[in-house]
Symmetry: C2
Subunit: 436 residues, 2 copies
Amino acid sequence: MNIRLYHARILTMEKDRPVFRGEVWVKNEKIVYVAEDEELKRELGPDFVKISWDLEIDCRENLLMPGFKDAHTHSAMTFLRSYVDDVPLQKWLNEKVFPLEAKLTEEDIYHLTRLAVLEYLTSGITAIFDMYVKPDATARACLDMGMRCVLNSGLNNFTSSIEQVEEEYLKWNRKNSLISYQLGFHAEYTCSRELLYQLAQLSHKYRAPVYTHLSETARETQECKARYGMTPAVFLDSMGLFAFGGGCYHCVYMSEADLDVFRRRRLFAVTNPASNMKMASGVAPVAEMIRTKIPVAIGTDGPASNNCLDMFREMFLVTGLSKLKENDAASLDAEQVLHMATVQGAKAMRLAKSDVLAKGKYADMILLDLHQPNMQPIHNIPKNIVYSGSKSNVAMTMINGKILYRDGHFNVGEDPERIYAECARIVRRLTGQEDA
Amino acid sequence: MNIRLYHARILTMEKDRPVFRGEVWVKNEKIVYVAEDEELKRELGPDFVKISWDLEIDCRENLLMPGFKDAHTHSAMTFLRSYVDDVPLQKWLNEKVFPLEAKLTEEDIYHLTRLAVLEYLTSGITAIFDMYVKPDATARACLDMGMRCVLNSGLNNFTSSIEQVEEEYLKWNRKNSLISYQLGFHAEYTCSRELLYQLAQLSHKYRAPVYTHLSETARETQECKARYGMTPAVFLDSMGLFAFGGGCYHCVYMSEADLDVFRRRRLFAVTNPASNMKMASGVAPVAEMIRTKIPVAIGTDGPASNNCLDMFREMFLVTGLSKLKENDAASLDAEQVLHMATVQGAKAMRLAKSDVLAKGKYADMILLDLHQPNMQPIHNIPKNIVYSGSKSNVAMTMINGKILYRDGHFNVGEDPERIYAECARIVRRLTGQEDA
């Protein structure tokens, strides 16, 4: 499939390259050409339009850019959206989430993940880093719909074993370019020291990075200190878990020693501002991390705690909460935030070929509609996206060279209404509630 | 014009009335009937479908509710969107905003306001409380497009006089049901004591409420104390400005004495969370105000400081920032926030007939698309709206019985592209910049 996207504004997200007008050409799953209009004329003359295209898209001066990378989520938790809200994290997990999750079947997770994938597409998210039980179901949903997904094992004392994790790791890292798998565990407070030790060994065996929830609440860090005499990052590092890098989700309560572990191990901090607000967990020290060279990516967290899967909301919150926390209106400007939501996300997820728009990269890109009132006037496109952007600006989402969402219509091999109905059925079974 | 909206879920926003399935009938600018399907069958039998409708809309089980009230904005500031960002309020006002504003013509304000109106419609905002220079231009833009607007004089030492304000007050309170006018002044720090005294007299003459920016930054309250020995609310009240009620925008730094003035004078606090974040001004004590019976409405503030006009973003921020500030995940639930964004907004703006969906009220309503992934599953519709909602859910915006926006298309008597082009031309003239 040869696709030509022309009459575009283009933001490749390559370093120091501003928006230009030009074209992007796609062949099968890859980008084969990105060029300014001037360069095209000079290099190819008028003849290139005679190339036989399968599809030509007039972008109408709208913006092509890399899709957003949702670097932390639990997709299948769609079933809990607006079901449990307004309670703090530990109560929420123990009394509400875990009991219902225990009832989930693999088939449930498949359908509930598909609902989340629809939503990612509406928000221009082209890859997700998904930690959930039964990752085979998540992978199957993403494969069936065309979503790029990095699975992340949520190893803990209750729902899986180190043997399962190793088996999944091997299986999903050789199967398909859309799916990969990274080692991970749920959190320090849900894993025994023995289990963590086993995971560290596995990480050393494959020289693989490890990811986990970390320092999301003050209570979590206090309990870890009481248990092990160390803050979570320091303790986990002492177990050898970060010898090959990786990253941590949330990172709200970070000591100097924790930040030092991040720098030394080159760990990614994945910030989840909406979830941290809604759960009253706190505000991560993102600006401080950026200043001291800790790489930061952005995640929505799951739809039960957020409650939506919207990278525009997260981007505004990253800068807005940082401005408040630092008492500085200049803190974290729009370009820094866009970088986190695209390039840094791809790096955190080890998706080296999905970071920018350039020849040889996967065609994971979005078209943002600038012909809408919230994008006018066009003083500064990165600022427009981060400060004014919304799901309603996503005109197209392409993953692996395939257009999965365009002008409000999905092309994912299934009617959304059937997915909604399937999920409603699951929710009724799990909760005993009827639709409102 | 008779319009029947059927197959709807309906949230009237009347007290303690949950979502039900039914119909809303509109005749000219008013709602003439709101009924549950069961009631309709019982009262009217099957014959009502023989009424000759000018338009029948199948709502497909989507949600009809009152439109949002944007209780504080400066619409015409669209020209500054993404032009000046990442600087604190006073610097932003003095070095960036005021010099450019001085160049604005009435014609500029007309076009720039029209751009904002397009955006309000995409966000389901059906009435705005607009403070800006040259309110005649704002009124003309709103009238031409069909937007409901309450003008609010931004009296200050530089751009208008008390005589002008009185003239505008009389003119716009008798002219048209879409436009009304409330007395106001820019802020304590931009008005002389003499000018404030004149406005207080005018307020007494017409027994009229008064509105103003108040305690937006710590610096503002400190300077007021240095100048007058009182915090802003206490000082302004001592001038007699709030004898007939009114309200204040921002209200971030509130002393006990300030809160007491609000309770005694029954003033509305209009919170502007996105603007207060982006300017690093702070977080208003909304939960505390609600607990102590101070009515709170929500405003976007102008597009220069926010930068978008999106009530969904504001609603999430009202609850999210409150949860953080109070360190309580239960702070300000979704129903309270929806109430602020609709009923309380209407009350703050003195739009008694635009608050809820009921017989005799103005047909100012929106249809929210629940057939989108971010609104599924349907456990709890108010929570879905506040925690997961987005502009992309706004399927229709009706004001005064007229459908101004539907399925992404505007019906405002002008092609949006012409408005964008006009605004781009103005921006080039004012800033000397070219489009990105």
